[in-house]
Amino acid sequence: MSDYILEMNNISKEFPGVKALSNVNFKVRKGEIHCLVGENGAGKSTLMKVLSGVYPYGTYDGDIVFEGKVQQFNEITDSVKVGIGIIYQELALFPDLTVYENIFAGNELKKGPFVDWNKTIVQATGLLEKVKLKVTPETLIKELGVGKQQLVEIAKALSKDVNLLILDEPTAALNEDDSENLLVLLKELKNQGISCIMISHKLKEVISIADKVTVLRDGQTICTLNASNGEVSENVIIKNMVGRDIEDIYPKRLNKKIGETILELSDWTAYDSQLGRNVVKNVQLEVKKGEIIGIAGLMGSGRTELALSIFGNPKNYKLQGNMKMFGETKELKHTSEAIKAGIAYVTEDRKGDGLFLLQDIKSNVSAAHLKGISTKGILNLNEEVKIGTEYKDSLYIKASSLEQIVGKLSGGNQQKVSLGKWLFTGPKILILDEPTRGIDVGAKFEIYTIMNELINEGMSIIMISSELGEVLGMSDRIYVMAEGSVKGELTMEEATQETIMELATQ
């Protein structure tokens, strides 16, 4: 018998147009804490979804061997049955139910046809002791902080007799004390023989807890580092995470002409009253004419929130600080005012809040600037077709016709429609949020080329991206964000993948 609890051999997984995983090998020994690291989009979450049965057997290639047996999970319950428990980044608890109800939700203890609540409470008490959570089982989830909720999730996993616990960024939303507690708990579970896979962006935590670290990049296993051999250090991890060279996929920009400052933020702070905290903190930022500003940082670092707070504040943050455009102080109260002022924002989630998926290409392109195809509120539908054709051609949108429903286009073409929609508003500042997420290399190159053309025409671009290669390959200046604030501004001479990662993981 091998002493591996889990072996994933040659796992490959393809989505339409994108190869998310190719020949990944990933092995976890019994009773070890194995950290999985990599940039956003490196394939970590996809790999875990393959493991837990979210992507059922047959939709991927390769073998999963768990406790010496080849497994074929058709759904999540199959992986739970053999003892794999997964805790997602987004907690899946019911806020209005009690702790004990949550722990046994979907796995209710029964006496005959009825739920045995007494037994449930007794067992829940035991589990709470195990995870060192000092609350009564009758407490409502919503009365607990995020850190304690995380512990309830672990208790829930333990209630199903897990042998392998998977945690996806468990400390992303926790403060330092809670994170510390959680790490201590994981070590204790390890001593009880429970193996653990942890996905994390916080390298310091990874170093403090991991027995092994596997680095994924672009859907491939780069290396597995062994802590007992002293191989694990921040430098080594970062180098492996970002290690690729910047290839020629970033077209060179000729004759740069950087002009006067057109956007200036000072002490810019945004308070989200729903979350009850500042999502953007004291940001100082300036954008010059004809410049691409890269905003780097990990997910949740406040990049998107910063963009939204500039773009007419659709989430109704409470804003503080000063925003100037062309030297004039601006207060934009609605997205329509931002558009009028010359700002355009291509969203990160093009399907969720970027496009009208059921509508066709031409009406998506015109949607943010219907004034451009109407007189006195009456549309000129022929003009719309003309404009649509222009953008379809100039942005190389591949579709059978302008009447094609946008929901049926590929990711890259959807992104171009989204770009076309915003270019039609005639912006001076174009904010691109993850402009190339989930699209293939060819379409990426086309989007980069378009960006360069726009800059040459005198537009300015703010590019938010998790992909370091892209940030380094395209930007003229880089701001690195973490926890809502700008941790550093780098010139292209200073910026390397390592310096960015260091600032971003602070």
């Binding site: 997205t335 329509s336 009028k340 009208f356 059921l358 509508q359 949607a367 022929n382 077709v385 508003t425």
Partner: protein
């Protein structure tokens, strides 16, 4: 051969839009055969369209409400209540009909606006907000008719809205001349509009239908308009109700398909977040759509009250559900962003045809409800299936 290929491709691409027209034709033909032609008689068609009027105008407004992912349950009793208010204005207060009607329409729009504010500004789910409205207007209707009971209206001008016909000028072979003229003008306008659209597209250099298929389309639709006109001209001619229906459809069809406002409505329904990020004021659009719904409810109340020539204590009962059913039969989708005003009218006519045809056949009311329910379910199933095919 090419002609049929193109026609087939056209039908296939637009099966969702054409589906209900085909369904309507099938239903009408079936009833015509089963009643030995009685169904298609001038008198029956005229009655059928008049009885569809007050639901059809509600269905038009309801379609837009459903397009922006909401619902309005208050419109039935709102129509009943405002109809009663109109009756009180005309009888007890002696207000002229020319003042009564605009005032009632404005009342309706204002009440609709209140619904819009509750939904968009305060954030109450539209189902609950308008359910409350439904109860309130039901009570209000009882309150204003409590002392008098049914209010009988003796104003001929007002009653003509629901019962009268346009003047005939003269009869030719027993046919209503002005109706024929209106039909002819309708056909000419339609043909002119189509041809100028086509020419316009050609000057832009766009692809257009082949001239063979285009002529076939013109002839077919002109023939349908002509046939309906001819049928109506054989009885009393066009009723004022039908004229009002046509005006409402034309205005709403234009607003929804040819204006910035219409585009914004569909954008909000299609993806509210994306609409907001595209600079569209989602709240304002919600106010406008609910305001228009209120106004159409008032119009529906006027049509119904005038048709009965009186305001009753139960006027408006279940109108909202008939309107919702008509909107769904007409192809609106509860997922938002999809549904046409013209569909709503066809939906209302389908439902009215079912009632009328089954009445002629002497089908019991119990079966009538079941069959109408079945048709509603069938229409939505068809809608879901064709959407799956396209996705």
């Amino acid at each position: 051969m090419n002609f049929f290929k193109e026609a087939k491709a056209l039908v296939k691409a637009n099966i969702r839009d054409y589906g209900m027209y085909i369904a309507l034709i099938v239903i009408m033909l079936t009833f015509t055969i089963m009643t030995n032609g009685l169904f298609m008689s001038s008198r029956n068609i005229s009655n059928l369209l008049d009885s569809a009027g007050y639901i059809a105008v509600l269905a038009v407004g309801m379609t837009l409400v459903i397009v922006i992912r909401h619902i309005d349950l208050s419109v039935g009793f709102l129509a009943g209540f405002l109809g009663a208010i109109a009756a009180i204005f005309l009888t007890q207060m002696g207000v002229s009909v020319w003042i009564t009607i605009p005032v009632i329409l404005i009342f309706g729009a204002l009440i609709g606006l209140v619904n819009g504010v509750l939904v968009a500004k305060i954030g109450i789910p539209s189902f609950v907000a308008t359910l409350a409205g439904m109860l309130i207007f039901r009570g209000a209707l009882l309150q204003v008719t409590e002392k008098t009971g049914t209010i009988i209206i003796k104003d001929d001008q007002f009653n003509a809205i629901g019962n009268g016909f346009i003047p005939s000028i003269m009869q030719i072979n027993g046919l209503h001349l002005l109706t024929l003229l209106v039909g002819l003008i309708g056909i000419l306008l339609f043909v002119y509009n189509e041809i100028s659209n086509r020419r316009n597209k050609m000057t832009y250099g766009f692809e257009v239908m082949s001239s063979g298929l285009f002529s076939a389309k013109l002839v077919l639709i002109s023939a349908i308009i002509g046939y309906i006109t001819w049928i109506l001209a054989g009885y009393n001619g066009l009723s004022w109700t039908v004229i009002i229906m046509i005006v409402v459809v034309v205005i709403y069809h234009f607003l929804s398909s040819k204006t910035v406002l219409g585009r914004h409505i569909y954008a909000v329904g299609s993806n509210p977040e994306a609409a907001h990020l595209s600079g569209i004021n989602v709240q304002k659009i919600t106010y406008i759509v609910f305001g228009s719904m209120g106004m159409l409810a008032a119009l529906s109340g006027i049509l119904f009250t005038s048709r009965l020539q009186s305001a009753t204590t139960t006027a408006g009962t279940l109108f909202e559900l008939d309107a919702i059913a008509a909107a769904y039969v007409g192809g609106v989708s509860s997922a938002g962003g999809v549904g046409k005003v013209t569909g709503a009218i066809i939906g209302a006519i389908v439902m009215a045809s079912l009632s009328s045809g089954m009445n002629l056949l002497g089908v019991g009311i119990s079966y009538q409800y079941m069959i109408r329910g079945g048709v509603l379910a069938g229409a939505v199933i068809f809608d879901v299936m064709t959407r799956k095919q396209r996705a």
